[in-house]
């Protein structure tokens, strides 16, 4: 078993003077999928923000063995961690194509970028149709696809997604998760997914971490958690 691509120990985070995370431990396998589950307000979004350096955080955070807890957000992104934030984070006033070009901003391999554009448009044909449209005029599902596509254009090694199913119709969600699963299997892209839709996430993930008020309540292989009725009812509501 290879070393985890992301190893987190004792993660704490603050919004101003208020501490929101109280010492979390979890990891993402290289090429694996880890799901962060829990109720609203449990702190899942905070975890991703802390990992990306958007808020004050302390703890031992290692990406490929290298500590990143003191890096600035843009440097973390340049290392190969792509974060699709809650609310999608698309550039509303820019076109679809401009949004995608920004994903490739830090890359210097023009051939690779061009190939990736082809691939992305193949994966999300609706984005190809709307490439000259302003991102703000896209539907929720299309904006989510755009956000993910932009992140993929960064050619990251780790893709972090914050509630990719939020506010989307079931068919669209299924399409997105199918695409994510495909990319994970074919290219070994590691995924860290924050989801409220636990069953969807558990299907995709190999590890699951249950968060409750800024602490890890439970963690383990997703199979085990899915199979455990008591856990499911207590923490996941189904």
């Amino acid at each position: 078993m290879s070393a985890p691509i992301l190893a987190v120990k004792g993660l704490e985070a603050w919004y101003g003077p208020v501490r929101a995370l109280h010492g979390l431990d979890f990891l993402v396998e290289d090429g694996g999928v880890t799901a962060l589950l829990g109720a609203n307000g449990a702190g899942k979004t905070t975890i991703l923000r802390a990992l990306s350096g958007l808020i004050r955080r302390t703890g031992d955070i290692r990406f490929r063995g290298r500590p990143i807890g003191a890096l600035a957000t843009e440097d973390i992104a340049r290392l190969g961690i792509a974060h699709v934030p809650d609310g999608r984070g698309t550039f509303q006033d820019l076109t679809v194509e401009e949004n995608l070009r920004l994903g490739a901003y830090v890359r210097s391999d023009r051939q690779g970028v061009r190939a990736d554009f082809e691939r992305i448009y193949g994966l999300f044909p609706r984005l190809a149709e709307r490439r000259r449209q302003q991102a703000g005029t896209l539907s929720g599902g299309e904006q989510q696809m755009l956000a993910i596509a932009r992140a993929l254009l960064m050619r990251p090694s780790l893709l972090m997604l914050d509630e990719p199913s939020f506010g989307l119709a079931p068919l669209v969600v299924a399409e997105i998760f199918r695409a994510l699963g495909g990319i994970n299997r074919q290219e070994g892209l590691s995924l860290l997914i924050v989801e409220q839709n636990a069953s969807l996430a558990l299907d995709l993930a190999d590890r699951a971490v249950l968060i409750e008020t800024g602490r890890v309540a439970l963690s383990g292989p997703s199979q085990a958690i899915r199979a455990d009725d008591a856990v499911r009812r207590a923490y996941l509501g189904y």
Partner: protein
Amino acid sequence: MAEPGRALGVLVAIAVGVFALAFPFAASGYHLYQGAQVLILMIALIGLNLLTGFNGQISLGHGAFFAIGSYGAAILMVKAGLPFWAAIPLASVVCFIAGFLFGFPALRFGGLYLALATFALAVATPQILSYNGIDALTGGSQGLTIAKPAPPVWTGLNSDQWLYLVCLASAGALYWAARNLVRGRVGRALIAIRDQPIAAETMGINAALYKTTCFGVSALYAGVAGGLSAIAVGFVSPESFGLALSLAFLVGIVVGGLASLGGALFGALFIEFVPNIADQLTVSFGEGAKALPGAIYGVLLILVMAAMPTGVAGVAQAAARALMSSWRPSHEKGGVNVAANCQGKGEAP
């Protein structure tokens, strides 16, 4: 309730007051004139500070209201023959109305846009004043000359001393009025509007009324100062009322201390004497020294904002507190809030 800090403050005030009263009998012509100028500037700075320091509304154009007061008083004295003690208050009322009316649209834009609009006002004022369409009234680009008011015979004072004492009395009265305003309900409302405008509204404070009235009052102060300046200087002309005047006021309140009424005295001393000293330096260092006041103003504005947003008054108060090592600091509430605001570096969630 006599805290050592407060006692020191009272002592300082008394010392300053005694000095100010004795001054006209010890000093001569030109120095008296300078003393009067300091008092005049102090009145204008108190007015601007009420608006900007305590109520958080930026004005880069208070020179315009100063001009209205000056020209207003001058016109009433020269064209209508009114004595100064009627002309100046009348002109100040005009200023209050002008400020109140300007404050109305200002409500809608606030902050940066208010800075823009007042900046425009300041730049346009000299042109408006020299407009030959109204030069029958204003004297056009030549301006108007005003006779210095004669002191009442029974006082035995000369006109310079009389002028100085009139300014002193005005400054004292207006300072006292501002102090009461700031320490009372109105002052707290103004500060609340400055720091948390939306919360203030929800507490039932009619922000619109307070803000426009505050604008009017601060314009009134500038107007009184302008009127006094007209009789002190003896003439009014358009060039004296340009952007530089408005910006000098800004420098005065920043250096003296935003939201500090006592600091207005220091601010006034500063903007009166720095150009003076620079002028004297041109004798030794040549024309280049004319650039000195501007450079000092610029550097100080930035340094004060960076290092001591409460200005000299705040530093003096802090020093006094440290000196007395009082565990219960006494200071005007306004000062603390501004310091906290200017140093606020919150992290956004």
